[in-house]
Symmetry: C2
């Protein structure tokens, strides 16, 4: 029996992170409703600290530690939003964060993590090297490892976004989120199942990285094999914890073409005047491609993040 | 004696447009504060209808008309945000809008105005042709001409942005806005002088289109002569109405380099995750260039708009 998170864990996470995380705004946009043929409310995690929902989970994990644990610091391997989120959460608690990153990671990502006060530990650009280096760091420092998604504290933290959304907006027919490792999806699904069981949870996944879709069909985790998608936050595979929650509480996963992801991203920028990253636009891509008949429905979309290299936009 | 707008006119405008215009959010951003060395609150007119503050003035003008006047429609010449704003306001009132635009205007701008239901009237791309064509339209239809800024109804409408900001945020040391024709600046200045006389009003203007700066120095309107600035909303010159208010109530105009405008725009996109147009970034450019010592001050910046061609970004 896996230690699944519960609604109580999400409430506890919400209380724990409330002094640090933004309660992000919920926006509506007439022009997007017209385009999508549905009534959509947008939960703007691109405005979250570090520019992504990832701060919620990292913050909950870091502030869940006992003082004795915390003193020895935290560690993770990531070159993306989770790394920045762990670094900032650790700085806020006043403890060290060891971030293991491939030595060929883009300079801009190294700088972001360093800017939040993380201690960089470089390794060769392979999964084996990453895991081995992280294990060495943990052994040497006694730091607590914080997995990007397969961690009950992280899942509960990510669930606080949906908790805020469902508290603020009633009568949603559907909640849509992107799925990569499944932290946001599983947190969203367990909150929704508990608080709004009539609301469907539908995940959107790049067709080019459809491991969650295939895993749900197969009933077992099928990892992503070197997927190539512009949605760089969604290249990871599910973990046992996230998969168990997704199997139980997620109604559907739809896959989305790269073209629709890019089109969705551009529509959000042009019509809503906000900056979102490709991963955040995957649910919009699904709506644009009409993979589901959601005409006239009330849909909550969690916009997962806004970190994008403005010098390399995909249009 | 010119018919200057008053605070009462702005209050009346606020009531008149409240059913149609957004009360835009006021954002803060720790990372921008750190960058600029000041405590800045951002009034987000990029989220306004049609993506710019211009909707406030156009909406107030359109809904100020008597039913008899309104029936004959409205007319303006513009290819920018004012044209879209007049078209949408007219559609909301259910009356015709005649928009005179040079026949070589970009297709995207023609499409935007047409999308809001405006009737396009094309003319040769000269000021003389534009004014003559507009006069012909007014004569033929009986439409009311709505000037983009030199109009007391428009000025009062633009002033509602500052009215909302000052109602929501206390103790600002400074309000900064960009200046082109001066509609936003004069509306802001007259509201601030009446409601928060201790708050300085400082305008920011592209150095490459510094007619307002020179006009204020000279004490007379000196027009912009074919200015070339990326801030396409600020290429116009002051009018007698806006100039009179600016002379009376604006403390200072600072000029800003093109490089600083672009840098400011990029910082806003990257750190605040919102899309603003170059004109909106001019006050940020002024802060970046430290043209004034505002260290530690509380500054309200009105972000004037967010309409930008994503296919042609300046970095």
């Amino acid at each position: 029996m896996l230690p699944l998170s519960t609604l109580a864990d999400v409430h506890a996470a919400a209380a724990r992170i409330s002094a640090y995380a933004h309660r992000t705004p919920v926006l509506t946009c007439r022009s997007m409703n017209d385009l999508l043929g549905a009534e959509v409310v947008w939960k703007c995690e691109n405005f979250q600290k570090v520019g992504a929902f990832k701060f919620r989970g990292a913050c909950n994990a870091v502030f869940s530690l006992t003082d004795a644990e915390a003193q020895r610091g935290v560690a993770t391997h990531s070159s993306g939003n989770h790394a920045a989120a762990v670094a900032l959460a650790a700085r806020l608690r006043g403890i060290p964060a060891h971030i293991v990153m491939p030595d060929n990671a883009p300079a801009v990502k190294k700088a972001a993590v360093a800017g939040y006060g993380g201690t960089m530990v470089y390794c060769a650009p392979t999964l084996a090297a990453r895991e081995e280096t992280t294990a060495q760091v943990v052994q040497a420092t006694g730091a607590t490892f914080i997995h990007p998604y397969n961690d009950a504290r992280v899942i509960a933290g990510q669930g606080t976004a949906a908790l805020e959304l469902l508290t603020e907006v009633a009568d949603l027919d559907v909640i849509m989120v992107p799925v990569g490792g499944g932290g946001l999806l599983s947190g969203t699904a367990l909150v929704t199942a508990a608080l709004a069981p009539a609301t469907q949870v539908i995940a959107a996944e790049p067709k080019a990285a459809d491991d969650a879709y295939r895993s749900l069909q197969a009933g077992t985790i099928l990892p992503a094999l070197d997927p190539h998608t512009i949605a760089d936050g969604l290249r990871t595979s599910l973990g046992p914890l996230t998969f168990a929650i997704i199997q139980r509480h997620v109604q559907q996963i739809v896959t989305v073409s790269e073209a629709a992801i890019i089109a969705g991203m551009r529509h959000i920028w042009e019509r809503m005047k906000i900056v979102v990253e490709p991963s955040a636009a995957v649910p919009v891509g699904a709506l644009l491609e009409k993979r589901l008949d959601l005409t006239g429905k009330r849909i909550g979309v969690i916009l997962s993040g806004g970190n994008v290299d403005l010098a390399h936009l995909p249009w």
